[in-house]
Symmetry: D2
Subunit: 364 residues, 4 copies
Amino acid sequence: MVSELQLSPSWLSCTHMNKHHHLLLRGASSLTVSLCKRSGPTHPPPARPLFPSSGAGGTTTAAAIVSNFFSRHHHSTLTSPHHHLPKTARMSTTTPSPVDLIEQSKRLAAFQSVTAHLVPFPSRTRIGIGSGSTVIYVVEAITALVPPTTLSTMTFYPTGAQSEQLIESAGLNLQYINKLPPGTLLDVCFDGADEVDPNLNLIKGGGACLWQEKIVATSSKKFVCVADFRKMSPALGTMWKKGIPIEVLPLAANRVLGELERMGSLGPKVRPGLPGKAGAVVTDNGMWIVDAPFRPLRVEGTSDKEKGEWQVDELADALIKIPGVAEIGLFYGKNGNQAGEGGAQKPVEAYFGMEDGSVKVLSA
Amino acid sequence: MVSELQLSPSWLSCTHMNKHHHLLLRGASSLTVSLCKRSGPTHPPPARPLFPSSGAGGTTTAAAIVSNFFSRHHHSTLTSPHHHLPKTARMSTTTPSPVDLIEQSKRLAAFQSVTAHLVPFPSRTRIGIGSGSTVIYVVEAITALVPPTTLSTMTFYPTGAQSEQLIESAGLNLQYINKLPPGTLLDVCFDGADEVDPNLNLIKGGGACLWQEKIVATSSKKFVCVADFRKMSPALGTMWKKGIPIEVLPLAANRVLGELERMGSLGPKVRPGLPGKAGAVVTDNGMWIVDAPFRPLRVEGTSDKEKGEWQVDELADALIKIPGVAEIGLFYGKNGNQAGEGGAQKPVEAYFGMEDGSVKVLSA
Amino acid sequence: MVSELQLSPSWLSCTHMNKHHHLLLRGASSLTVSLCKRSGPTHPPPARPLFPSSGAGGTTTAAAIVSNFFSRHHHSTLTSPHHHLPKTARMSTTTPSPVDLIEQSKRLAAFQSVTAHLVPFPSRTRIGIGSGSTVIYVVEAITALVPPTTLSTMTFYPTGAQSEQLIESAGLNLQYINKLPPGTLLDVCFDGADEVDPNLNLIKGGGACLWQEKIVATSSKKFVCVADFRKMSPALGTMWKKGIPIEVLPLAANRVLGELERMGSLGPKVRPGLPGKAGAVVTDNGMWIVDAPFRPLRVEGTSDKEKGEWQVDELADALIKIPGVAEIGLFYGKNGNQAGEGGAQKPVEAYFGMEDGSVKVLSA
Amino acid sequence: MVSELQLSPSWLSCTHMNKHHHLLLRGASSLTVSLCKRSGPTHPPPARPLFPSSGAGGTTTAAAIVSNFFSRHHHSTLTSPHHHLPKTARMSTTTPSPVDLIEQSKRLAAFQSVTAHLVPFPSRTRIGIGSGSTVIYVVEAITALVPPTTLSTMTFYPTGAQSEQLIESAGLNLQYINKLPPGTLLDVCFDGADEVDPNLNLIKGGGACLWQEKIVATSSKKFVCVADFRKMSPALGTMWKKGIPIEVLPLAANRVLGELERMGSLGPKVRPGLPGKAGAVVTDNGMWIVDAPFRPLRVEGTSDKEKGEWQVDELADALIKIPGVAEIGLFYGKNGNQAGEGGAQKPVEAYFGMEDGSVKVLSA
C-alpha cells in the first residue's frame, strides 16, 4: 500500500506547478521525495518556479531547494539571499546537522503541502490553520508563495490560541470558526498530528485543543496533515503511548474512566496540569482531558474487544457515545475526498518531514 | 404493544408490597391505574400498606389513597390527618379541581414508582434524583416510605442545581455523580422528561441540564421516568415542539446549525437567555443549547431521511457524532433491563400522572 | 446642578458641526433639546448638515429632523425618502403615538451622541459598542453619518453577543477587546445603562454582560451613555429596583449573599435562568449573577452604613473587594475627562431619549 | 518586631496543652522552636501529651518528639512504634539527611499549628484545608490528634482538587465552601503559601487555585499558614520571583497586562499551560493566570509608585480594582484576630518547618 518514489528536483520544478501534479500524487499512495542528483535539463517553470533546480548538477538538499526558491521569488540580492529564513533552513556549505535536516524536511513538507493544495491560489480561499512545529512552515509557505493581492482576500481560521498567534504574527486575515456561516466550508485545513497510521487515521490532542481542532478539520472540504517522521506509525498507539486524548465533562471523569477500563484501556488517567496548575488540565472549553492508552489500534481486519484489541473505527464509535465524553482525539472515518459535504475527519494527505531531509507523502 | 388494565385499590394494597408485583407490572407493557370502585374484600397488607383501600366501598381518588397511606404510616391523629401534605393533595369533601386532580395523579405516580423500584428499601442504596414537578413527589415519597434508619444509609445524586436543592431541603444525604467510583452504578434514577414515546424514547433538556441528566441516568442500573400526561406522545416531536435540545460548544454553534438544517431540522435555533441574560443560554457546563425541531420521530419501520423523517435511533446516532455536539437531549437505545453493565439511556418504566387523577405506567 | 436649555433646530444645525459645540455642551451640565419652533434664518451648514432645519417654520419633531438629515445625506428620491428608516421613526403627517415619540427621541439621542463624540470622524477610530435599544440607533447613526471610506478604517469592539451581531449586521469591522494591544485605548465607547444618577454613576448588568461591558468601557478614552428617560434617576436604586447586578464565582455565591446581607442589602438573590435554563443564570464568563437591592444610593454627603444607606463610591469599593465577586454592575469613580490614562468607569455624557420626543443630555 | 525564643521540649509538653499557650505564643511575634536539651523535670500533661519529652535527657529532634507522641497516643507496641509514620519522619539512629530534617520540621510545624488552633478539639468544628506539602501533615495531625468521635462531627472544606483528595483519602467529612450557609464562618483554615513576609502578608497562587483559596481563607474566623522555611521572606517578591499570580478574565488579559506594566510590573505574562496544554493555563474557574513580577513589596513606610515600588496594601488595592481582574494572589489587610466578622485574608500565625529540623512561628 505504501510505495516510495525517488524524484529529482527537476521533476518537482515542473510538475508541481501544473494540475497534473495532483493526479500524480494521488497515483502514489505514499511518496518519498529524496531530492537526489538531477540529471536531466531544467524545465522552465511556466509561471513561477516553486521548487526550482539548483544551478548545477549535484545533490540538492531540501534547504537548497527552499532557499533557491526564495532567492528567486523575493528577488533578493547576493549579499543577503536568505535574510528572512530561520537559521536551520539557511543554505550552508557545511554538512547540515541531523536537527537541521529534520527542520529542513519539515519545511519542505510544508511548502509541498501548500503547493499541492493551494495552487493556483484562488482568491477568497478560507483556510484552517492548526498547530504544531510543521504548521509554522505552512504559514511561512503561504506567506511566501501566495501573491500579496490574493493573500489579502484569504481568511485564516485557527484551531486554538497557538495558531491564532501564528496567523496574527504573519499578518494574515484572522477569522474564527464560529463565524463561518452555517452550511459553508473552509476550502482546506492544514494541521499537525500526534500520530498517523497508514490509513491516515490520526491521534490528536497532545496540546488539549482537540475539540476545536476537530471542528475546524471537519469544517473543511479537505484536511491536509503536516508533521515530522516521528508521527508516522504502523498502528495508532505504537508511537504515541500516552493514550488517546479524550475531552470530558469534569463531573463525568470518573464515570468515563470506568467505561474506558471496561473497554480495555490500560490505565486511563486525567491529565494533570502541573507545573502551571494544581489538579487537572482544564481545556479552553472548560473540560478535562483523559488520556486513554489502548493496545495498538488495528487499521482493518478482525478485532478482539475482549482482549482490548480494537479497530480504529469501532473504538472511535464506542468512545464518542460514552456520556460525559465531549470529543475524542481519534480522527477517523471518511476523508474530504470521500465525504462530499464535508464533515470528514481524516486528512486526504499527510506530509512528513523525514530524518534524512526528504519528505514522505501519504495519500488517501 | 400498549394495553390498559383497570385495577382496584385493593389490588394495589396487596400486590405492591411483594416481589410478585414487579413481575406483574413487567407483564403489562402499559398500565393504567384508574382507581375504580372496589368490590372485593380488603386483603390485609403483609407488612405495611402503601396504598391501602379506603375504609368503605365507593370511588377512591388518588388523594384518598395517598392520604390514607399517610394516616397509617405516620400514625397521625384525627385532628390533623394530613398535616404535612401539600395543599393540592389534601383530602377534600368538595370536588377536586382539574389542577388538584393532576397534582394528585402526579403524586400518586411518584409514590407508585418509588414503591415499584425501591421496595424492599435495601440499605446503602444509591439513587439519582432528577428535576421536574413530578420528581418533587418522588422525594416526598422516599422520605415518607423509607424507614429513617434505612434512609440515613442511602445517598442521593442530583442531576442539577434544582434537584440538589430538593435533596438538601428534604434532609437527604447528598452526593455528586463525580464522586461515584469508576465502575460503580447508582441503583436507580428517578427523573422527568419533556416527551416520552411509546418505546420509552425520551426528549429531555427543556431546563438545559441534559448533559448531567444523561450522565446520571446512564450511571444507573435502571432509570425510572416520572411525569404527567402532557409528556406522553405517539412520536417524539408531537407534543414537545420546541425541538430536540442539543448541548453544543459555542464556537461550533453555527456549524451545528448548518448540519442540522442539512439533516432536515426545521429551523434549529440557539436558545436565548432572556429575560435573565442577553444572548444565548449558557449551561452549567459552559455550553449553549440548540433547539432542533424535527418531524415527529419514528419509533420503528422505515425512515426517509431525504424528507427529514428520521427514526429515533438513527437520528440520535447521527446527532451525537456531529463535531461540536457535546450531548443530545434524545434518550434512546437500551434500557437498564437490557444493558447489563449500565450505560442505558431509556427508562425501564415511565409513570404518568393523568388528567383524571389516575396513573398510567409504560413499561419496557 | 442640572439645568435645561431650550434649543432651536437651527442651533443644532450650525453648532453641532464645529468644534465649539463640544465646549458648549460641556458648559451645560444637563441639556434638554426640545426642538421648539425655529424663528431665525437657517444657517447654512459648513459641510454637511447633521440636523438641518425643516423647510418651513413650525414645530419640528425629532423624527422630522432625523428624516430630513437622511433625505439630504443619502440623496434619496421623493419616492422613497426614508426607505431605510425603521417604522417608528418615519416621518408621518399624523400625530405620533407615545411609543413613536420615545423611539424618535432615543434615535435622536443616538445621533446627537455620535455627532458630539465622533465628529470630525477621524479615520482609524476604535469604537466600543454596547447593547440596549438605544445603541441600535448609535450604530445606525454611525453608518449614516460617517463617510464610507472613513468607516472602513474604523474598528468596532462589542461588549457581548448582542452588540457583536449589531456590528456585524451593519457591515462594520468587528474586533474583540482582547485584541486591543496592551496600553492602547478605544477612542470612545457607546453603551446603554439600566439606571443613571445625576452624577453619572450607573447601574448596568440587567443583561448579565456587565463584566465585559465594564472592560470595554474602561478600555476607552471616554464612555458615552445612551438610553431612554426611564433610566434617569435621582439616586441609583430608585428606578432599577431589582438590585445591583454582581457577577460572582458560583462556589462563592452563598458567601457573597451573606456579606451583602451584612452590608444592608435587602434580599439579595442569585438570578434564576428560567425559562431557558433551570437553576441560575450562567454568564458568558461562567459566573452567576447576584442581584443585590440596596436603599437608594447617595450621590454625596454622609452615609449611614448601619442603616444600609451607602454612598455610591463607598459601596462600590466595599463590593469589589468581597472575595468571590468578579465584577460589579456599579460604574462609578472617574470619567474619561478626569482619568487621563483611561480606566474610567463613568460616562462623560449621557443622552436620554425623552417621552416627549426631546433629548436630554447629562454632562460630567 | 521578630524575636526568637529557645524553648525546651518540656515547655512544649506542658504549655501546649493548656489555654495559656495561646497567650504565650501571642506574646512572641515570632517563635523559633529549636528543640534544645531539656533540663527541667517533665510536667505531667493534664490530659493527653501532645509533644511529650523524650524518656531521657539529651537533644530531642523533631522526629523524636513526634514519634514519641505517636507511641503514647496510639499505644503502639515496641515492635512497631512508628508503623504509620511516613519514611522520612521515622526515628532513626543514623544522622538524618537534610531532606529528612526539613520533612520532620514541616511535620512538626503542622502538628504544632493544629495543637495551637484546634485544641481542645470542639465538636462540629468546620475546618478549611488548603494545599501544599506541609498541609499534608496538617491532615495527618488532625487525624492523629482528634479523638475519632469528635473527628466524625468535624467537616472539612477544601480549597481545590488537591486538598479535596487529601480530605477524602484521610476519610474525613468533605464539604464544599459553596455549602457554607450565608453568614456562617469556618472555625479555622490551614493553608500553605508561596511567600510570607514579616507582617504575614502572603503570595499565593502558584498552583492557580488562588481564587478558591482566598474564598476559603476569608470564610474562616482565622487562617493559619503552614509552610517550609523557603517561603519566609523579608519582602514579597524576594523569594517568589515568578510574580504575583492574578486570575483574569481571558478577554481582558491584554488589558490587564497593559495596566500592570503601567504600574511598574516587570514583564507580566500570561502563564503557559505546557506541557499538558497548549496556550494559557485555564483555572478551575475558566480564567487565565497572569504572573506579575514587582520589585519587592514594602511592608510599611513610604512607597515610590513612579519607580514601581509599592507597599503591599496599596498594590493590592490597585490590582483588585483593575477591570478584568477576578482575584489576586496577594493576601493582605486584616487577619482573623482583627476582623471580627471574618473576611480576613492574612493568617493569624504562620508555622515554618526549618532547615535544621526546628519550627519557626510568626504571629500577628
